[in-house]
């Protein structure tokens, strides 16, 4: 794949790290449940990116297989997670994460 040879591995990893950091920042600092949820997806995809990059670099297919696993799990998680969020919103009329704390203490 000649067009990819121009981009070195480190660039992919740096991009991946940036995406991951954004995901963490979103997870830690945002209060909206959906935003937090999207941040998690972002982190997962950041990892996926590094997997694919390594897979290409090392000429091994394992990383890409794992990526598929992660995507399947992420899809399932999104389905369940969104269902939970919907139910929470129906019951509580809120999407603020700090207010959903009836199990605390």
């Amino acid at each position: 794949m000649p067009q990819l040879t121009a981009v070195p591995l480190s660039w992919y990893l740096i991009l991946s790290a940036i995406l991951f950091a954004l995901g963490i920042a979103g997870f830690v600092f945002r209060r909206n449940v959906i935003t937090v949820f999207m941040s998690i997806e972002l982190m997962l995809n950041a990892v996926n990116l590094s997997f694919v990059a390594f897979s290409h670099q090392l000429r091994q297919v394992d990383g890409q297989i794992y990526t598929f696993f992660v995507m399947v799990v992420a899809a399932a998680e999104a389905a369940v997670g969104l269902a939970i969020i919907l139910t929470v919103f129906k019951n509580r009329q809120t999407l603020t994460i700090d207010e959903v704390s009836s199990l605390k203490n």
């Binding site: 963490i24 997870f27 830690v28 199990l103 605390k104 203490n105």
Partner: protein, 621 residues
């Protein structure tokens, strides 16, 4: 030993164990007839099996040993579950199962109205089981199992009416006082292990036989004295006799079976069984004789001033046990055991007769509220009279033969012991007949309506009365004599006449004081003043023990154990630990605030630290 028939000795104790188990687990819902059937059946089967075994063994010149399995194997020490029968234990087996069965039968009538009927018979059977283990054991550890087991059953049965405070107190007292003796017994066993490397009786006695007689002291004397401590506890000798009179809080059949006929003779049995050890330790023998004599005198004196009919007989038991110890101590082992047997007959009869009187008077035990019962309960009267004549040592009743054998042996050993024994015999006759006269003669002083006991109660009385009359002619002395060295006793007619004379004098004195001239007793009691008060108050022994042992122990426990150890060390330690845990928890609880995002930060920090470490280590494989 080769070619010994397998006689299934283990069945003898197992029958009562099964009975105890059945009644103890299922008896609560059973009818009284079924419970009584199981209990009597178990003890009667046991008796039948004893008779069958003994008839199969014939002359029993050597002990018949059956070894079942290794119980404890630890280094060189090997303790097996071994049972044995020899001439000595055969006598005990017959007494325990025979008298035991009679008392079971009697108890069916006596306990008829009791709600704890099933519990009572379960305990009684359990007692028989442990007693038979004690008698059959071929090693000291197994004997100790039986020894402790009968102690347990004694505790349970003294405290049978556990809703009454005095019963619980008496049970605890018996248990605690017996612990003192048991401690001595355990130390004796430990010394045996150290000295002989075994607890097997054959081995221990063979080894002891080969050792020289110890003039002053030595290992055998130590073992023997520790065994005496144990025997003093179980057989209620000075200074550990105090529990037995209180043990009368239990139902009367228990007093007859456990606290007169069988369990309390266990100490005598152990000393006789260990005769090989004692023969090498003259000092211990002398101690046994002196303790026995002292017990006989003290208990007889106290017995003269008791007003509870059971207490009178309880002190008489203590006193008679003292006689047995005298017999053992002066070397007349077979006479001591003979007295165990005859005493089992007449003392069980005395207690069962007392129970019959109490039953007739609806629970009245105070001699002051009896009297004139001769015509109202004639069978009880005549059987009790037989027992009283037997204990007073009147010819030809059972007590005459065994007591005379002991007294003659005591005379051969040391004449002063004979004289003390004879005076005690007179006292014995006096206080037993005092009880009889107060109970059956004169005017009735109570308010109940006396009635004769049912046949199930008076039949055992009649059988025991026959044994008390004729039991002295059983050839028990000749049967067990070969086990012991020959006691050189001359049949001195003068001495026999003297002892019988003292007995008769005691009876006549009681007759004079309590029948011919009622009121003399009070007058002479007043004249004796302090002495009488001391006797009536049992020489203040209980009070002395309270002041010397119980009270300091309680105060010491309170001061040192409660205020010191418990409150400072235990509670302090506990509180310190709690405070420590709470402090650490207080530190770490802030980490776990329930805020998801802070957890994410911790995870992030952890990952950063981890990565940092990896980078710092340089990624080497």
């Amino acid at each position: 030993m080769p070619n010994q028939p397998d006689l299934q000795l283990w069945l003898i104790p197992v029958f009562p164990l099964i009975g105890a188990f059945l009644n103890g687990t299922l008896g609560r819902n059973w009818s009284k007839g079924l419970i009584a059937g199981v209990a009597i059946g178990a003890s009667a089967l046991s008796f039948v099996w004893v008779v069958k075994t003994l008839s199969a063994l014939g002359q029993l010149d050597t002990a018949h040993v059956e070894r079942y399995f290794t119980w404890i194997a630890s280094g060189d020490l090997n303790v097996g579950f071994d049972l044995a029968v020899d001439r000595l234990s055969s006598v005990m087996l017959l007494v325990v199962t025979g008298v035991g069965t009679l008392i079971h039968v009697y108890a069916v009538g006596y306990m008829d109205h009791d709600k704890g009927f099933w519990r009572f018979f379960s305990y009684l059977n359990l007692f028989l089981f442990f007693m038979l283990i004690l008698v059959l054991a071929q090693n000291f550890l197994l004997l100790f199992v039986g020894w402790e087991g009968v102690g347990l059953c004694s505790y349970l049965l003294i405290g049978f009416y556990f809703l009454e405070k005095y019963a619980g107190d008496a049970a605890k007292k018996a248990f605690v006082v017996n612990r003192v003796g048991d401690f001595g017994f355990s130390l004796a066993m430990l010394l045996m292990v150290v000295q002989f490397g075994s607890l097997d009786m054959t081995k221990v006695f063979t080894a002891a036989k080969a050792m020289p007689v110890e003039a002053q002291s030595g290992i055998l004397t130590a073992i023997a004295l520790l065994l005496v401590v144990g025997a003093c506890g179980k057989s209620a000798q000075v200074p550990l006799y105090v529990w037995l009179p209180d043990a009368m809080a239990g139902p009367t059949p228990v007093s007859a079976l456990i606290h007169a006929a069988t369990m309390v003779t266990a100490g005598v049995y152990v000393v006789a069984r260990s005769s090989e050890v004692f023969l090498k330790a003259p000092l211990a023998m002398e101690v046994v004789a002196v303790i026995g004599l002292l017990t006989a005198v003290v208990a007889a004196l106290i017995g003269t001033a008791q007003n509870d009919i059971k207490k009178v007989f309880a002190y008489s038991t203590v006193s008679q046990l003292g006689y047995m110890f005298v017999g053992l101590g002066v070397g007349a082992f077979s006479a001591g055991i003979f007295h165990v047997v005859t005493h089992a007959f007449f003392k069980a009869l005395l207690f069962l007769g007392a129970g019959s009187v109490i039953h007739a008077l609806h629970g009245e035990q105070d001699l002051a509220r009896m009297g004139g019962l001769r015509s109202k309960i004639p069978i009880t009267y005549w059987t009790l009279m037989a027992a009283a004549l037997a204990i007073a040592g009147v010819w030809p009743f059972a007590g005459f033969h065994s007591k005379d054998a002991i007294l003659l042996a005591a005379h051969a050993h040391a004449p002063w012991m004979f004289w003390v024994g004879v005076v005690t015999a007179g006292l014995t006759a006096f206080y037993v007949f005092r009880a009889i006269f107060l109970c059956f003669f004169g005017e009735y002083r109570g308010h109940a309506h006396p009635h004769e006991s049912p046949a199930i109660m008076y039949m055992p009385l009649v059988i025991l009365a026959l044994l008390s009359v004729a039991g002295g002619y059983l050839p028990i002395m000749d049967w067990i004599a070969p086990l012991f060295p020959e006691a050189h006793e001359a049949h001195d007619m003068t001495l026999v006449l003297i002892s019988v004379g003292f007995g008769l004098a005691g009876i006549l004195a009681a007759y004079y004081v309590y029948v011919l001239k009622p009121g003399t007793a009070e007058a002479s009691a007043a004249r004796l003043g302090g002495l009488y008060r001391a006797i009536a108050n049992k020489f203040y022994v209980d009070e002395a023990y309270d002041a010397a042992i119980v009270h300091p122990l309680e105060q010491g426990s309170r001061a040192v154990l409660l205020h010191g150890v418990e409150q400072v060390v235990v509670e302090g330690g506990l509180k310190g630990t709690v405070a420590m845990v709470r402090g650490f928890g207080g530190l770490f609880r802030h980490l776990q605030g329930g805020n998801i995002r802070s957890y994410a930060v911790y995870a992030l920090l952890g990952a950063v630290v981890f990565l940092g470490l990896m980078v710092a280590k340089g990624g080497s494989q």
